[in-house]
Amino acid sequence: MLLPPELSVSLRVERPLLPVRPRTPPRAPFCFSPSRLRFHRQHEFFEDGDIHRHLYLQDILTNVTEVTERSKVSEFCCHIVGCCQVFDTLEGYEHHYNTLHRNMCSFCKRSFPSGHLLDTHILEWHDSLFQIMAEKQNMYQCLVEGCAEKFKSSKDRKDHLVKVHLYPSDFRFDKPKKAKSSTKHSKPPSKLDVSMPMDVNVETYEQLQVDSMEICPSESMENPTQPVSGPISSLQEKKLYKSRIPSTVCFGQGASRGFKSMKKKV
């Protein structure tokens, strides 16, 4: 296909409009009348283009492999006090930081996956006004972003989450406190019975893992002596954690632990 060479030059030139004859309807047997066409998504006109798009999605359109090597750096430690995870990539550190330290409650050291969940947690757990207000009005905010509903208790909220938002009833970041058994401190993971059936294993495992993130203020109030553990995670981390503060030592409402001289809001 050959275009006139001066085409691009003519981009800015004003041209006079040719005179137009008023439109008349076509006379039979002729039927042409100019019209703008609209195609619906399933129209066969779109077939070739759609196929092209899906070949691209399935990655077989091009055979170029973009490999960008992850830059290795010399091993370094997480700089947060009390955490001694070691990393050899910046990405690994970044993800660790975001998971464990970014949305961490400065009062009780729990980590949350989002700022929204952290805010909700702080409000419900550590705001002394909250309980007073909660008696008068619905204060428990729905955990789903974009839903403005508020509830009288965390139980009502849970029902709402399950019914309206189809959340799992054991949603990890809103789990009843009582699910945590007291065995978890006396029973380190390595002692689990290997022959236990899978689901039992799971339960135990979950109890070990969940506690760093769940929020459930109402039940916790009933049991103020229940220690709140920080993130127990890799053996490395755990060891250090334990050397700092015995997990059984705990003060006050179960919310704060030890003397928080090292607490750092991150």
């Binding site: 691009s8 040719l18 047997p29 195609f39 196929i51 899906h54 990655d59 989002s114 974009g146 689901d199």
Partner: protein
């Protein structure tokens, strides 16, 4: 980072032919699926550089499928924290690259709960590896495997508000894969708040996250129930204005982002739910400016994959131009440069991606149907020869090119005069010689318009053996009436009749 292109398809000397065969197979499977309205695709993110401790590339090893015992043992070991847990999980992930292992995994009771437990743990590297396992499962071609991931969706959505680029990207592609699995999945994702979650995630500054988000959204928008259930929610959110922003910003860096969001816009526009809203947000000028910018990039080096962006943009604009006038939102475009852009696209893609030519001609039709400014510009920019060169292409291209010529001819004698001067008649004679009824019919319409407005063209038509070309079709029931009308009204050997002369000159009067 993550490689979009699986290295399995990297061609070496011997693999090239295999690659082509594979592509042909895939293409025909896709066409079949589309005709059955079941065209869905999933994307696979795999880290190319995942080379294990034992020195094997993660993607290339076709390991033996894991047995149920092995899976069970792996899960137990991971839970007990013996050995390096991450290594164990990696082994599971590699196993899950195989369908057989996937099926065994989801059939094991409690396995998904364990995986979700790991996925929601606060151990970053464990969490990441578990997310990769979920992603492998979400990519499965077995619907039962992907549906087993349903309990993970609330967490996947929760993590979208996190800050790790790679992890968020992984969650997005997993969600995108699950979203096309069945409407049961979408019936769960919508109440779980996927639209608000995407609406806040779209403010991320990271290109990789944005591309993944565009992927999820495009997957949702392709759903059959999208026009009633999903698009209204999307239009009601802040997503459209961000989509318009992202589709045009940062083209060089974020071509992938622009591609995803332009397809999203296409799915929305062609569903015709509330295009007024998009128009009021400036979609038309955004699209026009973007197409002009892309056209100016055609002369530069990097054009690979541009058709993936141009195609949906053209579709949006064409469909928007066809909005009903009755709704009071007739779209008007007056920028002639768009015309130049269209012809540059057609010239560039004619060989490699001919499908784009018909999309361009569709837009050209919608531009020239009502706007005489574009008809005039096609003539004065001397684009008729280029248009005529397209006539021998595919059937659809021929039809659309003829329709555009009709649009121009319909505008009156001044236009027909120009068309005649640009030698339309010889091309018209060659399309008249074709056997396709619709193509010949459209050619007869064009011939009629030319002769109606420019009776003197009859002499040239006759001198080029036009009558013989017409006679071929005089027995075709769909064409014979028009053939006869043309012969009787315009092509009498005794030169033009006084009636047609009179009507033609009368027609000139009002415009002059």
């Amino acid at each position: 980072m993550w490689s979009r292109r699986s290295s399995r398809y990297r061609p070496d000397a011997s693999g090239l032919e295999e690659l082509r065969g594979r592509r042909r197979e895939q293409e025909s499977a896709l066409r079949k699926a589309r005709r059955q309205q079941q065209l869905v695709s999933k994307r696979l993110l795999r880290e190319d550089s995942l080379v294990n401790g034992d020195g094997q590339a993660g993607v290339d090893i076709a390991a033996e499928p894991l047995s149920e015992q092995e899976i069970l043992q792996l899960l137990r070991d991971v839970q007990r924290g013996t050995e390096e847990r991450k290594t164990l999980l990696s082994r599971l992930r590699q196993g899950l690259q195989q369908k057989e292992t996937q099926q065994k995994f989801v059939r094991l009771e409690g396995s998904m709960r364990v995986l979700i437990g790991l996925f929601t743990s606060s151990l970053a590297n464990i969490q990441m590896e578990a997310a990769r396992c979920l992603h492998e499962l979400s990519h499965s071609s077995d619907p039962t495997v992907a549906e087993a991931c349903l309990p993970a969706t609330s967490y996947l959505l929760t993590y979208l508000s996190g800050h790790s680029v790679e992890f968020t990207e992984l969650c997005l592609y997993t969600l995108g894969n699950l979203a096309v699995e069945s409407d049961a999945v979408r019936k769960q994702l919508l109440p779980q708040g996927i639209i608000p979650a995407l609406a806040s995630c779209i403010q991320s500054p990271h290109v990789a996250v944005l591309e993944g988000l565009g992927y999820v959204l495009s997957q949702l928008l392709q759903a059959r129930e999208a026009p009633t259930k999903i698009i209204p929610l999307v239009l009601d959110s802040v997503l459209p204005q961000h989509m318009l922003r992202l589709v045009s910003s940062n083209l060089e860096l974020g071509m992938g982002v622009a591609v995803e969001f332009s397809w999203c816009l296409h799915y929305i526009v062609c569903s015709h739910v509330n295009n007024m809203l998009l128009i009021s947000q400036g979609i038309v000028s955004t699209l026009v400016l973007l197409l002009l910018e892309l056209a100016s990039m055609m002369s530069k080096a990097v054009t690979e994959g541009l058709e993936l962006l141009i195609c949906p943009l053209l579709r949006c604009l064409s469909n928007l131009l066809a909005e009903d006038e009755t709704e009071g939102c007739k779209v008007q475009i007056q920028d002639e440069r768009l015309l130049v852009a269209l012809f540059l696209f057609m010239q560039y893609f004619l060989q490699q991606h001919p499908f784009l030519v018909q999309e361009c001609l569709w837009l050209l039709n919608n531009l020239t149907a009502d706007e005489s400014i574009f008809c005039s510009a096609v003539l004065t920019l001397d684009l008729i020869p280029a248009l005529l060169q397209l006539l021998p292409c595919s059937r659809m291209v021929t039809l659309l090119a003829l329709t555009v010529l009709c649009n121009i001819a319909e505008k009156g004698p001044a236009y027909c005069h120009q068309l005649h001067q640009k030698a339309v008649l010889p091309s018209l004679l060659s399309t008249l010689a074709l056997s396709d009824g619709q193509v010949v019919g459209q050619s007869l319409e064009l011939l009629h318009l030319l002769l109606l407005h420019l009776p003197e063209a009859a002499d040239d038509f006759l001198s080029q053996a036009g009558l013989q070309a017409l006679e071929q079709h005089q027995d075709n029931p769909q064409l014979q009436e028009r053939v006869r009308a043309l012969r009787e009204t315009y092509l009498q050997p005794a030169a033009a009749s006084p009636i047609s002369r009179a009507s033609a000159s009368a027609a000139v009067l009002p415009s002059s």
